[in-house]
Amino acid sequence: MTAGAGATAREPTTTDAAGPVLQVADLAVSFSTERGLLRAVRGMSYEVRSGEVLGIVGESGCGKSVSALAVMGLLPTSARVSGSVRFRDRELLGLDDPQLSAIRGKGISMVFQDPLSAFTPVYTVGAQIAEAVRVHTETSRDQAARRAAELLDLVGIPDATRRARAFPHEFSGGMRQRAMIAMAIANDPEVIIADEPTTALDVTIQAQVLDVLRTAQQATGAAIVMITHDLGVMAGVADRLIVMYAGRPAEVGSVDQVFHAPRMPYTLGLLGSLPRLDAAAGQPLTPVEGAPPSLVALPPGCPFAPRCPLQVGVCVEVEPGLDPTSASDHLAACHRSDEIEAGALGPADVFPVPPPVEPPIAAIPREERPVVLEVRELVKSFPLTRGALLRRRVGTIHALDGVSFDLREGETLALVGESGSGKTTTVNEILALAAPMAGSVVVLGRETSTLETSTRKETRRDLGMVFQDPSASLDPRMPVGDILAEGLRAHGVAKGQRRRRVGELLGLVGLDAGHVSRYPHEFSGGQQQRIAIARALALDPKVIVLDEPVSALDVSIRAGVVNLLQRLKAELGLAYLFVGHDLSLVRHVADRVAVMHLGRIVEIGAVERVFGDAAHPYTRALLSAVPLPDPRRERVRRRIVLEGELPSPLDPPSGCRFRTRCPLFVAVEPERRQRCVDEDPMGRPQGEDHLAACHHAELRNRG
């Protein structure tokens, strides 16, 4: 991997002469279920050439992964598959398993979303990669082992020979994903299918893995079929793009065509619902209302019709074909794509955008608003013990090490950082409302360490909480009405009032009040999260902690929930503590940002300041790792690739905790470096409402 900064510009290395390596034509997959025939994929056609990257995007359940599994012949036998999948000149559909196995791995290989499940826990990573080599080629054990180390080196695993002897669980998520890629390219495949290869990873690791994928492609000249739900990632990676909806391609074209001249309302909606790092804050996103149709009983006509603002009579009667638009290689499945083209319509023209909401409190300057939540020098550490019988303390994990911030009425403070940076610990410490190990938490003027049992309960009223995954945060055994009433009941609200409030809450989040007796699983993901938000609002809190409130939701649903949160904040004068790793979204929702790294806040300030002129090298690296949903800008972007991963919180580096990964540390003169090693940087002002903990922040442009 290229060290330090590397331009992401990439020339398509298409070699047309060779013809497509993988050709899929009219692929259809269906399953029979209790409720009827589930048509998971219909009319899927594509071809990829060597060196080309084909992206397939779509929401969960749109058939993107099923189509990939069908190509690999990995679907369960209950699936009915028709159409044609040709690899080189060989038809793959209908081959039996031994024949397919000969092609899998060598001709076509696959990178899965969850690399832990792709490795067997009882063998070393090196042995498993060597095994993959030996299955397809006659090599000695030694040669295979050497090749495995080479491959690990290629995907940027430091000290590859030694690490090859490690077991999968000893690798971090990012390393495992690299090892998985190493295994996938072990036999010089001609096609690599990558199914959500970066979904579970942090942005900086995601950028690294995408880089590795690119390196791997260059090393093997393979074609890549990349499947993801994240349209943003595609802009910088793919050459061509297929947008899928309800089991079939809705739009097909080059990245530039799809991103800059979308011709199908669903694509428009997806693009409009993406928050962008380079957009001004406060603009509502364009929401796509509703949810994808059930694949069991697809209505006749366009599957997108119930959600489409451009829907006309013919849409519900005739399903539009996937037809060329004015450019012959740009296809769209929409009756009105010509009109979209003629009018050069953008997302905001097609989808109704709610007017931006400005909280009345925003008129009051920040300093004059009351502080609703204050955290001072918060410390939390966990003992690390070893041994089953006699527990010995072998170390201390410093999860939080002096975290301070305050949250004022009517504002949103976002906590961002990679996993393991201490965001969640901070939130849990606040919500526990107990005395912290050191430091203090003050909620609406009440210090948590001095709370009596009764005042603690009273304080809980003022603090709402929304979790990441609504399907896990709603008790599956309780009807929605009881879920919403629970907090009210715990605080002794009378029954009649409870009922009234439940109806009110459902209305507030845009759900039908008649739904009280339904169970959570009867709702779609977006609706479930609305219920969770309603529950958080039940007791009229002043502060709501939002822990990644939309990251478990589908892209087109997110915008609606985000807009709802914004509206509620304005109407009810709430303050949000927003935990997130999606920086584009943070840019969109937050007023202030705190960037966390290894239990510290390294940079904090107004969102325009921090995102516009980041002072800490870590923030700058994070920001540069965020993909922009804009292929033209992606191509010319300079990316700061962070080396390595978060150091262990067990034994943080001396001085500045970021120095082992800091590009600025490398860039500055040796005498300045010494200061980073010796002295722990404190937050220093970088302008109005902007602190950064770096000794050399003013030299940041060198990094």
């Binding site: 949810a291 909480m465 945060s473 055994r477 009807p479 459902l506 009280v516 509206r567």
Partner: protein
């Protein structure tokens, strides 16, 4: 798939004006009615329930239909096969098998159900509390579980039973239940440990819901299926335990009878004088089957995620 409602443009102010339809039934009938509806969809469960009700009715009303009771003897009929005078025949000493079987059924049903109920109840509460609270309550409770597990239950009951002789059979239920809840409690504790970390439990905690309420409202309902299966199995188990103890003279004492004592007495002559064994044995099988069908149906009704419940 749920029909999407218009999610965004609902004016918040309008919605809160009056109580919308549907909110009325909320806490009262909402959940119970749903469970009932799902239960009624399960044919076998309904059959099981009907059989169970009939058995109960039969056990308690049946004795009045016959002139004999379980203690009276007819010295004109020893070991008679079923006839119009003695519907189920008579025993070696002229007791009426019909009257005895019904009396035995009464006892066994009540003992079995009560024992299962009490034992599962103890297991649920102890296991869930141990798992939810952790720390020293967990250690103390699990210590008790281990202790009871190593005690030989049969012996303890046998040793204790002379002290209870002549007292209520309810004590017998308590003893049986007291020695049969431990394994389930451990399973429940394991489940509670997992559920404790679930976000909906945390959400309740952060809202200020008291711990015991969380245990009863969130933990136990989410283990309902395992508790119900357990209770069902326990009914059979308790009846069998009661049989064994009664056989050795430690359980239900003569002149009182239970299905257990009747089967024990009948097995020796099951082939030659089948009426001594067939009626009590048949009723036992019927009872256990019916209870387990009901258990199945209840599980599907209570568990909205069960596949069968979803397919309407």
């Amino acid at each position: 798939m749920a029909i999407p409602t218009d999610p965004l443009l609902v004016a918040a102010s309008e919605a809160g004006e009056d109580v919308p339809p549907g909110v009325e039934e909320l806490e009262v009938g909402g959940r119970g009615r749903l469970v009932l509806r799902r239960f009624l969809r399960r044919r076998l469960a309904v059959v099981g329930l009907v059989v169970l009700v009939v058995l109960f009715a039969f056990a308690f009303v049946g004795p009045f239909l016959s002139p004999w009771d379980h203690t009276s003897k007819d010295f004109a009929a020893f070991l008679e096969p079923p006839s119009s005078r003695h519907w189920f025949g008579t025993t070696q000493i002229g007791q009426d098998v019909y009257a005895q079987t019904l009396r035995g059924l009464q006892k066994s049903l009540v003992i079995g159900l009560l024992t299962a109920f009490v034992s599962t109840g103890i297991a649920a509460v102890v296991g869930a509390c141990a798992g939810y609270f952790g720390g020293w309550p967990d250690r103390v409770l699990m210590w008790v579980v281990d202790l009871l597990l190593v005690l030989p239950a049969f012996l303890v009951i046998a040793v204790l039973s002379p002290t209870f002789r002549g007292r209520s059979w309810l004590l017998f239920v308590v003893l049986l239940a007291g020695f049969s809840w431990m394994i389930t409690a451990r399973v429940v504790r394991g489940l509670a440990l997992g559920l404790r970390e679930r976000e909906f439990v945390q959400a309740a905690r952060f809202m200020g819901v008291p711990s015991m309420v969380i245990v009863f409202r969130h933990l136990l309902p989410n283990m309902a299926s395992i508790l119900i299966i357990d209770a069902t199995l326990n009914v059979g188990g308790a009846i069998l335990a009661e049989t064994g103890l009664s056989y050795f003279g430690f359980g239900v004492q003569p002149p009182d009878v239970s299905l257990g004592t009747l089967i024990a007495n009948g097995t020796r002559s099951a082939l030659t004088f089948p009426w001594l064994f067939l009626f009590s044995g048949g009723l036992l099988v019927l009872t256990v089957l019916a209870v387990s069908f009901v258990g199945d149906g209840l599980r599907d009704a209570l568990d909205p995620n069960a596949a069968a419940a979803r397919a309407r």
